[in-house]
Amino acid sequence: MSHIKKPRIHHPALTRNRLGLTRRDYEGTMSTLCAGCGHDSITAAIIEAFWELEIEPHRVAKTSGIGCSGKTPTYFLQEAHGFNGVHGRMPSITTGAHAANRELLCIGVSGDGDSLSIGMGQFAHVVRRNVDMLYIIENNGVYGLTKGQFSASADVGSTAKRGQVNREHPIDSVLLALNLGAGFVARSFSGDKEQLVPILKAGLRHRGFALIDIISPCVTFNDHHGSTKSYQYTRDNYNQLVYADFVPPAHEIAATYDEGDVRTVKLHDGSSIRFRKVPGNYDPTDRDAVYGYIRERQRAGEVATGLLYVEEAGGVGEESDFHGLQGTVEEPLVDYPFAELCPGAEKLERLQERFR
């Protein structure tokens, strides 16, 4: 933790987006995480993505649970709404926020411990409910805040800082989310912003539940030889399976490569994702094939990264996201007059009468 704040002075050529904001305006307070923490790089990527998408900070709800990841939302979008919830309960809190105000752009930041151990049930159900949110798992394979015990995402055979070997099987959030029906599933690496920022942008623009599992090395407890979540290991076994570019609505595609290599997938809001350099038989919209392919790469010892699966926007019909499934009202509850939201004891009495 630094004694000084990051000075406000910035490069004179720093550009402003259409809202008149610089990238620096999307920052939060100074990080108190360990120097070199992957989470801080993810924070920087999130800042970049929000700035590029020209999202007004006050339209955003950022939520988190407990753990090093739980601190992260403090470090970006100072002017956004935030809630640091109970351990593993970020999905419920986000669901509540989104249920009440569907116009809020929800981003939840969790960790492998927060999501895959104590919050596993919450995680599973928020995927099923298809809450319209970007769910980030900062995945480092250890409980960093409690000094480096194996987490549920630690690989069999990987070692702790003091040499103990993990023998329990890991939970893979990407495979799990595919199984549970998530419409947007990605894996990335904190050390590769070129890949991460476009995926974050696509995830923020995806309607429905979007998961990005980001390998985020813990420099203090899990960046050693024998770790499978270290900077070195991740780079050595990195397989950028698919390259995905995010294209905002009404942007002409300036193709710089053969059209045959490119696969464009439309999102609900008119933006699209362009996949390029995808391996010959890879179809990022075929859930079963993607599942099989990731398993295959895992057996080959590779960390498959990229925007691995995305559901193409459907045609006209019933929305399949949370609000569509629940049949809720169109407007945020905050826009309803109080008398309508809370019609009074008499109406409640009448309602209860019906069940007697």
Partner: protein
């Protein structure tokens, strides 16, 4: 394939020296950030001594320096105003204790070498300062009744109090200079006949430029600026007419117009041929003159004097405008003429060297402009053993250049007297010492301070005209000093990078407030420089740091040194100490002293020059030599 960029060799003292813009810009390479930190610490004596090591006259220069360090100060590129480097130097000078105990001891046993210096100005005094502690006998010949050269004759007392001047000159004279006042040299040949091992010519540029217009020689009320200032200084002139015209807008013109006001003139006009952007005077000297209600008229080109009965009545000026012509120079177009009445005219349009006393057949070659040919490295003329520096060598500069010439000439004279090569200059060195005190604590004040430059307080306008010797600038008070020292960015606290330690976590890149850092693949210069986090604004004047290949991906770390505020956050957020803040201590050689060496018995100077680092993280990388 075009070659990728080469990794920066930070063991070459030049790279880190360039990052310290002020020190790089100072001809004498004064260790500015360190002396500012010493002031911040209340160590005024140490700060003064550190200054004196390189610039010899901290008190004089703290008032009169042309400040080549300030326009290049990094603060200019960040918030538009440089650190008040020059006036902080004055603070150290004003608040110091007696420094005589810390001056080098002069050996009683001489080395048998005798040196003659011509002219007792800043260059000759520096030669004496450097050579006397080595056992040389130094004789200085001065044509005037007092030493100091232009520092004495041409800088009015309201800018430089006599006591400040004499004190600093006396430090040198008291080392045992054989000073011969009222002793002009009329013949160099005759001097060379005498028994001197080397001769140094530091005779300055004492001849004011003439303006041969009709009427020039018809009145005694037309003066040459530098001669007039000299007469005022010696008390030969103590009054002047009511209406004074000063021709020219250089720093001498500024001194002339302000002096005229103190001699009783009530209407002083400075006449400029061109417009403000072309004025030669330093901006701050212009400001001070304007503050004293001197009128500066642009686009007035003098055409003739109006003289009646030997008395100046005024001058006729052409009113001109300037237009670029084919060769890129400006050409004047005359629109009208105008008469401006005056009682006295002072010509301040420049000055020249003058060597009527150097015979042309004694082996000293002159060029087409009748200037002696002097080697820019060795400061020796074409005659062995005759050296030259200061304004005499290449025309008017300023004091700090004269001092640096003196240092270099002294090195040459020392080598010459010992039969060593003059062209093999002693190398500079650099120490690099970690400034880490704790996990997030540095030896220096690393937070960026947004304070604006402190404004110099001036003596009240009415009050200051009462006497010639009322110093206009009052100096910084303690509050101003404490604020101003915090504006210094400590550019010598270098961001030192060890590529082999980097794990490419991006922490430094994400935290850097000025977007100085990039990790990317190497490439040819024109390609790589386009792929940086932020666009380059002052490249290549401000250098890039290019690292060796990083271990994990083979990419490189690139740092644009231009706008770095040396906050140290990159080093604080670095998990592997690949980044560290290390103080670069430039070691400068002087005559008889290798880089970093000191005269015997100079303990306080040791202290002043030493880095402030303490604790177990001292990582001296001594001896990195060019």
């Amino acid at each position: 394939m075009i070659a990728s960029m080469k990794p920066t060799d930070t063991r070459n003292p030049d790279h880190y020296h360039r990052v310290v813009d002020c020190q790089w810009g100072c001809p004498a390479h004064t260790d500015i950030p360190e002396y500012i930190r010493l002031i911040a610490n209340g160590q005024y004596t140490e700060s003064y001594l550190l200054n004196r090591k390189s610039n010899i006259f901290p008190g004089i220069l703290g008032r009169t320096c042309d400040r080549p360090c300030e326009p290049v100060c990094r603060r200019v590129r960040l918030d538009g105003e440089p650190v008040a480097i020059c006036r902080l130097k004055r603070v150290a000078s004003d608040l110091r204790d007696d420094i005589r105990p810390y001056l080098p001891e002069i050996p009683t046993e001489k080395n048998g070498k005798r040196i003659a210096c011509i002219g007792a100005g800043c260059a000759s005094l520096t030669v004496a300062n450097d050579l006397l502690p080595l056992g040389y006998e130094v004789t200085i010949f001065e044509k005037l009744a007092k030493p100091g050269g232009l520092m004495w004759t041409n800088i009015p007392e309201f800018r430089l109090p006599a006591q400040v001047l004499w004190e600093e000159i006396d430090y040198i004279l008291d080392m045992g200079v054989d000073l011969r006042l009222n002793h002009p040299i009329d013949s160099l040949a005759a001097l060379l006949e005498e028994d001197y091992d080397a001769v140094f010519i530091g005779s300055g540029a004492p001849k004011g430029k003439e303006l041969n217009l009709p009427g020039r020689w018809d009145s005694k009320q037309i003066h040459i600026g530098i001669e007039w200032l000299e007469s005022v200084r010696f008390g030969h002139i103590d009054e002047c007419g009511d209406r004074v015209l000063v021709i020219g807008v250089g720093n001498t013109a500024m001194d002339c117009c302000r002096t005229a006001q103190r001699l009783g003139a009530s209407d002083v006009k400075v006449m400029a041929r061109k417009t403000k952007p072309y004025f030669k005077a330093s901006p701050w000297e212009l400001e001070d003159a304007i503050e004293e209600q001197v009128e500066i008229l642009e686009n007035h080109s003098p055409s003739r004097f109006i003289i009646e009965d030997g008395k100046v009545k005024g001058m006729v000026f052409d009113l001109v405008s300037w237009h670029p012509c084919e060769n890129g120079r400006l050409k004047a177009e005359v629109h009208d003429t105008k008469v401006i009445e005056a009682d006295e005219v002072i010509l301040a349009i420049g000055q020249d060297t003058a060597f009527p006393w150097i015979e042309r057949d004694i082996g000293i070659e002159f060029n087409n402009w009748d200037m002696p040919i002097v080697d820019k490295t060795t400061f020796m003329t074409s005659r062995d053993g005759v050296f030259m520096g200061g304004d005499a060598a290449w025309g008017p500069e300023n004091i700090i250049w004269g001092v640096e010439h003196g240092h270099q000439a002294a090195i040459s004279i020392h080598a010459y007297c010992h039969g060593e090569s003059l062209t093999d200059r002693p190398p500079e060195g650099m120490n690099l010492i970690s400034q880490k005190m704790g996990l997030h604590e540095w030896t220096y004040s690393n937070d960026y301070d947004e304070a604006q430059r402190a404004k110099m307080r001036h003596v009240d306008l009415q009050e200051r005209f009462k006497r010639m010797d009322i110093e206009v600038e009052e100096g910084f008070d303690i509050e101003q000093t404490l604020k101003e020292v915090e504006r210094c960015l400590n550019c010598d606290a270098q961001t030192h990078f060890e590529a082999n330690l980097c794990i490419e976590c991006d922490a430094c890149i994400d935290i850097c407030p000025l977007d100085c850092l990039t990790i990317t693949h190497n490439g040819p210069e024109e390609d790589l420089t386009q792929r940086l986090t932020a666009p380059l604004l002052n490249y290549p004047e401000e250098p890039l740091f290019i690292s060796e290949e990083l271990p994990q991906t083979g990419r490189i770390m690139v740092k644009d040194e231009d706008l770095c505020i040396h906050c140290g956050l990159c080093a604080e957020r670095c998990p592997t100490a690949a980044w560290d803040m290390r103080k670069s201590d430039l070691l400068i050689p002087y005559a008889g002293l290798a880089a970093g060496e000191l005269h015997p018995g100079m303990s306080i100077m040791d202290l002043a020059g030493a880095p402030a680092a303490v604790g177990e993280s001292e990582l001296a990388e001594a001896g990195a030599v060019r």
